[in-house]
Each structure stands twice: as C-alpha cells, then as structure tokens.
C-alpha cells in the first residue's frame, strides 16, 4: 500500500508544497514495483482468499528499496485517520473556538479513532459526546456556529446524516443567505461514507450525490493522508459550511506527510498522474482503483492522466478543463450511484463548457443503482472495478 501511494506521487515531503509539478517530476513509471493486475488471489488470513484489485486496508510495510530512503526523508509517516486527527488537533490548538460534536467522539475517541485523545486534552465541552439525534446535534452545531464557535460535526457514518438533511439543507446551507449575510455558519460536517466491506446497505451510503444540490455548502472528498489533513484544516478555516467526505476503507492508508504546516485549497483538484491519452476523473476510494487500472494500462501502452477532483462542489473546472483540452477524452470513475451522482453533474458541466474539445462522448463509470448488498461477491461488483476502467479506456481510445 505504501508503494502504491508512492506511485501516486504525493509521498515525498521534501518539495515545496505549492509546487505540485515538482513532486510529479520525480515520478517515473519504471521505479514502480510490479503489482499484477490479473486476478490472482491474495490469501487473507482472516477472510480467506480474495481477489486482487481491492484496496488493502491494512497498511503494508514499505518495500526494501524504500526502507533506506525512508530514513533520510523528512516528514513523518502516519495513517489517514491519524492525519485527520493531526489536522484537527492543530486547528483546535490554533483556535480555541474549534470544537467537535458527535456520537462517541469524546472518551471513546470516535468510531474510527479520528478524535482519539482529544477529549483528554481539550475537555468534554470541546469534544462533545451527543445523544443519538443527528438532526439535532447538527442543528446544535448551526446554532453554535452562528454564535461564534467553529464546530465540527462528526457523523458516525455519513449515511446517518440523512437524518440531519433538514438542518443541513434548510438551515446550514441557507441561513447565511436568508439572513442577508448577518449570520455565518462556519461548520464542518464530516464522517466516513462509501461502500465498505460488507457493512450492509444502510452503512454504505454515498451522500455526496444527495447533498450536491444544496446551495450554500461546499463539498470535498479526501483520499490520502496528505490531502486529508490539508482539507480538514482548510475546511475548519473556511467561513462556509463544508462537508468533508471520508471513506471507510481509506482510514488505514499510510503515507509520509510534511512536518511543516500546510493547508490545501478546498476548490482545487489534484493531479495524480499526468498523461496524454485520456483524462480519468475520480475521487476518494475510486482513485485507488483507477491507479490500479493505470498500471495495467501503462503496461498496455496507454498514458492516462489521472485527476483526483477532491472538490465535489464546486468542481475545479480549471484543472479539469486544461486536462480535457490536452487529452480530448474523459472517463469519470466514481462510487456514487449512476443516477444523479457526482459523475452525472460532472458530465453535464464538462459537456457544457468543453464540448468542442471532446473527441468522444464522456464515459461515466459509477456504481449500480442498487442498495449495496451484503454478500462479498455481490458487493464487489456494485462498485467500479479496475478491470472495467481498463476496458473503458481501451474502448474510448480506439
């Protein structure tokens, strides 16, 4: 996993942060360790044999070639949930108005350990355990934000925030506007979402498609420890309500991130792998499926450009546009459902703005329009798999 992250080009910490192109210049395909993309089984001691192509949630130890260089690189290694916590802690240190509220965030440290240790450090009021009423503690956050605090609402699972839809849509998104700008609502609403490993239909929701219409909120999705920390900090500092989408399966990704402080832009996309033949737009967990497919494609002679759009609302049409103008072919790979997903909106936006630059219709690979089934094999094929991405690229590049 560390190797895969390294290939993504964000691992090295020694480059100046704003200059992403510098980072990518060190990236070269040849130094990639070989990971077979055919479906040879990997044996998992807990669950038995499973297919490759899945993101391995347990962080794999770094390979030998990296061990020597790891010691000399600055920065520190941590897992994604730790990166989120680090960002959160830095902001709570910096600004005494920042507070967290949610179920089991206090003493328990959060269901995914993002707030672990914070209640001991900052006290029960700044890391507040709430009763089970999502609509109401989101409402509480709205009220607290209007009065000067900067609350972060943690949904134990993003799907539970469907109960908070009224407060998010009608109050969080609206009150700044309807009050004529008199009251601001600088909240962050975050939590894990997406299809996990057999968590059942209700715990596998992708709320970005439901929330995308709400005027007044911003949405971002993190995918690496580096951008998780940066986006968390940016979201807390933003004056607008921000929904930060994390993914259940990405919490244990390991990466080396800079020691020095950094904040990322909420409206920028991330260039994961520059290329010439086709633009692949993706976000969150699908980024890893795309990168998996990219290895196969590279072996087959294709040169895909992979962009992690990160900002789901608004889209970074500048970065996306530049890419479309270069490659003239677009594939969107997302975990949302086909109908009304982020991909659907993105397809419309690209068609409207960059129609003249397209040589082929946009291909949007999304999850099936079904509730996520429990059985492992069924669940696996409701989301987009690398094989499908490879096939789509081959098709579009004909």
């Amino acid at each position: 996993m560390a190797a895969m992250l390294r290939s993504v080009g964000v691992a090295s910490a020694s480059f100046p942060l704003a200059d992403h192109s510098n980072k990518l210049s060190t990236f070269s395909v040849c130094s990639l360790p070989v990971i077979r993309s055919e479906r040879s089984p990997i044996s998992d001691p807990i669950r038995g044999t499973r297919m490759t192509g899945k993101v391995i949630t347990k962080a794999v130890a770094a390979q030998a070639e990296n061990a020597a260089s790891a010691a000399s690189k600055p920065g520190h290694e941590l897992l994604l949930f730790e990166a989120l916590r680090e960002g959160l802690e830095e902001e709570m240190d910096r600004d005494p108005r920042v507070c967290v509220m949610g179920e089991d965030v206090g003493h328990y440290g959060g269901s995914y350990k993002v707030t672990k240790g914070l209640a001991d450090k900052y006290g029960d009021l700044r890391v507040l355990d709430t009763p089970i009423a999502e609509n109401s503690f989101t409402g509480m956050a709205v009220g607290a934000a209007m009065t000067g605090l900067r609350p972060i609402v943690e949904g134990m699972n993003m799907g539970f925030l469907l109960l908070a839809f009224n407060q998010i849509s009608d109050n969080c998104g609206m009150l700044h506007y309807t009050s004529g700008g008199q009251f601001t609502i600088p909240t962050v609403i975050r939590g894990p979402g997406g299809v996990g490993r057999q968590l059942g239909a209700e715990h596998s929701q992708r709320l970005e498609s439901y929330f995308q219409s709400i005027p007044g909120i911003q949405m971002v999705a993190c995918s690496t420890p580096y951008n998780a920390k940066g986006l968390m900090k940016a979201a807390i500092r933003s004056e607008n309500p921000v929904v930060l989408f994390e993914h259940v399966l990405l919490y244990n990704l390991k990466e080396r991130i800079p020691d020095e402080e950094y904040v990322l832009s909420l409206e920028e996309a991330e260039m994961v792998r520059p290329g010439e033949h086709v633009t692949i737009l993706t976000y969150s967990r699908m980024r890893y499926h795309v990168m998996q497919a990219a290895k196969t494609l590279v072996n087959k002679g294709y040169d895909p450009e992979v962009i992690d759009i990160r900002s789901l609302k608004p889209f970074d049409l500048y970065t996306i546009g530049n890419s479309v103008k270069k490659t003239h072919r677009v594939i969107i790979v997302e975990e949302c459902m086909r109908t009304g997903g982020i991909g659907a909106s993105l397809t419309a936006a690209i068609n409207e703005n960059f129609h003249d630059y397209l040589d082929a219709p946009i291909v949007c690979l999304s999850s099936q329009d079904v509730p996520t089934p429990y059985a492992g094999t069924l669940e696996e094929w409701t989301v987009v798999q690398p094989a499908q991405i490879v096939a789509a690229v081959e098709q579009i590049c004909q």
């Binding site: 240190d93 005494p96 507070c99 003493h107 001991d120 450090k121 900052y122 006290g123 029960d124 009021l125 700044r126 507040l128 709430t130 009763p131 009423a133 609509n135 109401s136 503690f137 989101t138 409402g139 509480m140 956050a141 709205v142 009220g143 607290a144 934000a145 209007m146 009065t147 000067g148 605090l149 609350p151 009224n166 407060q167 009608d170 109050n171 609206m174 009150l175 700044h176 506007y177 309807t178 009050s179 004529g180 700008g181 008199q182 009251f183 601001t184 005027p215 007044g216 911003q218 933003s238 004056e239 607008n240 409206e267 608004p314 049409l317």
Partner: protein
C-alpha cells in the same frame, strides 16, 4: 413545583447562591488551554465500590443511579387527576392576585404597554395590507402580546433569541423600528435580510435575534447549541427559543430538550401553547397535560404560566433566566394562551373553529387590556394617553408602510451574494448570464436593476 418556584420568588436575589455543585457551573470557568475539564460523572469507572448495595435488598445500583424496588405492581397514570396549576399574577380585571412576582418600575411597565399596543397595531394594519395585496404574506401575534413583550422585557440584550415566527414583539422591544419591520415585509433595499426571506421572517444580529426560518422547531437545537457556545465562553447570558404547541411534536423538540438537559445548557425553552397548530387542536397534537409535564421527562425544570398575563410571563422569564445562567441549566416555560388571530394570512380559522370562540377570547382575554387595567390601577396610565398612543402608533405604522412601498427592491446581484462568503465561479457565471439576458430584453425586465 409551584412551591419550588415560590421559594425563588421570595428571595429574588437569594437563588444566586444556589449553585448546583454537582454540575459543571459556568461561574467557575477558567480560560486555561489544555486543562482537562471533565464532568465528575465520568469518574464512574473509579467508583466500583458502589456497585454493591451494601447488602440492602431494597435497592439496586442500576446504570443511571440507585433505584428502590417495590412489590407493588403499579403503573404510572397516563393522565393526572388535576392539570398542573398555572401561575398568574393579574386576574381578568387587572387586579393582582399574587404577591409573588418581580416588581417592575413605571418606566419598564409603561414601555411594556406601549410596545404591546404598537405590536397589536402593527399586526392589525400589516394584516390588512396583505389583504389589500400590498404585501404577500403576514403572521400576526394577536392574543400573544403579553408573551412577546413580557418575555422580552425580562431578558438582557446579550441573551440570544431563537424565534419561531410569532415573536415579532421581542424584536420590537429590542429596538427594531416600524420602518425596519415594514422594509422586511416589503423586501426592499432597506431590508437587512436583503429581500431573501418571506415577510415576517425577521432577523437582526445587531439585536441578537436570529433570522427566522420557516422550518418548524429547527430553532430549538440551534438555541441549545448557542447556549453551549455561551457556556464555553463563560458569558453572563442565556439563549431563549420560542415554539408553539405544534412544534413540540417534532423530533427536534425532543432531542433539543434532551440535549439541553444532558449538556446542561443555559437555555430557556418557551412554549406558546395557544391551542392551535393551523387547524390542529391540541387534543389532536398530544395527549399529555400540555407541555409543562414533559420537562420532568427530560430532567428539565419547568413551569406553566398564564400567557395572557404580562406580569406572570415577565416574572417567570426573569427567574428562569437567573436559573439558567447561574446554574447552567435549561428551563422549560409553557405559556397557556389562545391564538386569537388566524394562523397566517393564508388561513381562515373560522373554517375549523367557532367564531364565537375566537371572539370570546379576543373580547374578554385580551392581554393588552388586562395589562392596561393594572397600569391604570397603579396610576401610571390614563385614557388620554391611550388615545394618543393608539393614534400615534397607527400613524407611524401607516407611514412606515407608505415609505417601504416606495423604496426600491434589492439589486439583482443580491441573488448570488451570501450563498457563500465569496461567490464561486459557477455563481459568477450564472450572474453574468442573467445580466446578459436582462440587458438583451430590457422591456421584459422593466423594474429589475443590477
């Protein structure tokens, strides 16, 4: 419960000494970073010794506390024999029937009365303006003037108000002018809401009155959250939120009360039980004895007051506020009253309730008339003053409407501002597109300006 309350009333300032040491009190707040401020209750894992009952077979230390056993099979009654008593100070003819109330001096009393009359006048004339088609919508607070002004007068300017929509009087008391009200109803350039909300959905951060949203009872968790914020800051202030009998059926009411109790938030939860939620009478809304009994269910101190008695409302809010701030706890006040007007201008309540009932309440239970009688009894008000006040109020309201009607509407660019702190690119594009359309077809947009 009445006994408990009267203890407070007897020593008006005495209850400040009654800080509940078991709960975290904001009076002891220190702004020290990284200091672990833990509730005492979270040391439960260190109290393993108390798991054993000391051999007493009559009690059990269940999670939540010690409970006594009983061999009796007894269900708690669903309805009490008697409804919870209602605190009142003035009788129907304005005579004091209680000695337990907070004394107010002449200036406050006269301002209260003037604002009640102004509110009544404003409501009547704005309602008619809607009927004439001059504004699109209006809600009146007819019959609830005492609740509006009585509660407002007992609060401080630092206390944050989270209203439902029948509390314009609170804003009036705080200094919102008739012109401000008119501007909001007409949605013109003078509206501090920039024409974004429906008429009567006022809001003013200057007056600590949070902008009204049409969603029912969503303001209750907001008030709890804001109270939590005040508590974290150690401020000498509380929040107050108003809602009707109908609003207590919502999920937000339940969770708001529960949260307020668990978080020990300094919030006053003020229920205006006026008997009707549009056409739903309270008998179809709930089967409990009103709202006051629900307080105990959540562990919240509560009281029932006569909502048509301005002095009773004033006293209850005054004492509740002291409790909320000094003891860092929520207080629930149920004010019994009657919605003497229609739900709004979109409603004709004679369709679902007898006109005689409406007229009886208006004629005999008018809170404004009752307070006036008391004022006159005090020697603080006369008939000539009455005539002058009503005349003045009427002229002022009419003038405000006339002016508001002529002020132009906000510019079209205000469609796109304040959605975010800075308009993002997609909104900028949409504004440009709209501008082009307006410029291309000016004859279709004669009154729209950019």
């Amino acid at each position: 419960m009445a006994l408990h309350f009267s203890k407070y009333l007897k020593q008006k300032m005495g209850y400040l000494g009654m800080i509940n040491l078991r709960s975290w009190s904001c009076c002891f707040y220190q702004k020290q970073p990284y200091l672990s401020r833990r509730f005492e209750s979270f040391k439960a894992d260190k109290q393993l010794g108390s798991l054993h009952n000391g051999g007493d077979p009559q009690v059990m230390n269940f999670p939540g506390g010690i409970v006594k056993f009983t061999p009796e099979l007894k269900f708690l009654s669903d309805t009490p024999e008697e409804r919870i008593h209602c605190y009142r100070v003035l009788d129907d003819s304005g005579q004091p029937v209680s000695s337990n109330f907070v004394q107010i001096d002449k200036d406050i009393a006269v301002k209260m009365y003037k604002d009640m009359v102004t509110l009544q006048t404003m409501d009547t004339i704005f309602y008619d303006a809607q009927r004439q088609g001059r504004i699109s919508f209006y809600v009146t607070a007819i019959g609830e003037e005492a609740i509006n002004i009585g509660s407002a007068a007992a609060l401080g300017m630092d206390d944050l108000v989270f209203p439902q929509y029948r509390e314009a009087g609170v804003l009036l008391w705080r200094g919102f002018t008739l012109q401000d009200f008119a501007n909001q109803c007409f949605g013109n350039k003078g509206d501090n809401g920039k024409g974004r909300q429906m008429p009567a959905h006022y809001g003013s951060n200057k007056h600590n009155y949070i902008t009204i949203a049409s969603t029912v009872a969503t303001q209750i968790p907001h008030a709890v959250g804001a109270a939590y914020s005040l508590k974290m800051d150690g401020r000498e202030a509380c929040t107050i939120t108003y809602f009707g009998d109908g609003g207590t059926s919502t999920g937000d009411f339940h969770a708001g009360l529960n949260f307020a109790a668990v978080m020990e938030a300094p919030v006053i939860l003020f229920c205006r039980n006026n008997g009707w939620a549009i056409s739903t009478p309270v008998s179809d809304q709930f089967r409990s004895d009103g709202i006051v009994v629900r307080g105990q269910a959540y562990g919240v101190r509560s009281i029932r007051v006569d909502g048509n008695d301005a002095l009773a409302v004033f006293t209850a809010v005054h004492v509740a506020r002291k409790m909320a701030i000094s003891e860092c706890r929520p207080v629930l006040i149920e004010a019994l009253t009657y919605r003497a007007g229609h739900h709004s201008t979109s409603d004709d309540s004679s369709k679902y309730r007898p006109i005689e009932e409406i007229e009886w309440w208006r004629a005999t239970q008018d809170p404004v008339a009752r307070f006036r009688k008391w004022l006159e009894g005090q020697g603080w008000w006369t008939t000539p003053s009455e005539i002058e006040l009503r005349d003045h109020a009427r002229r002022e309201v009419l003038h405000a409407i006339q002016v508001a009607e002529t002020v132009e509407k906000p510019s079209l660019k205000e469609i796109f501002t304040d959605v975010y702190d800075v308009p993002p690119s997609n909104l900028c594009d949409q504004e440009k597109s709209l501008r082009k359309t307006v410029e291309r077809h000016p004859q279709d947009y004669p009154h729209f300006l950019f």
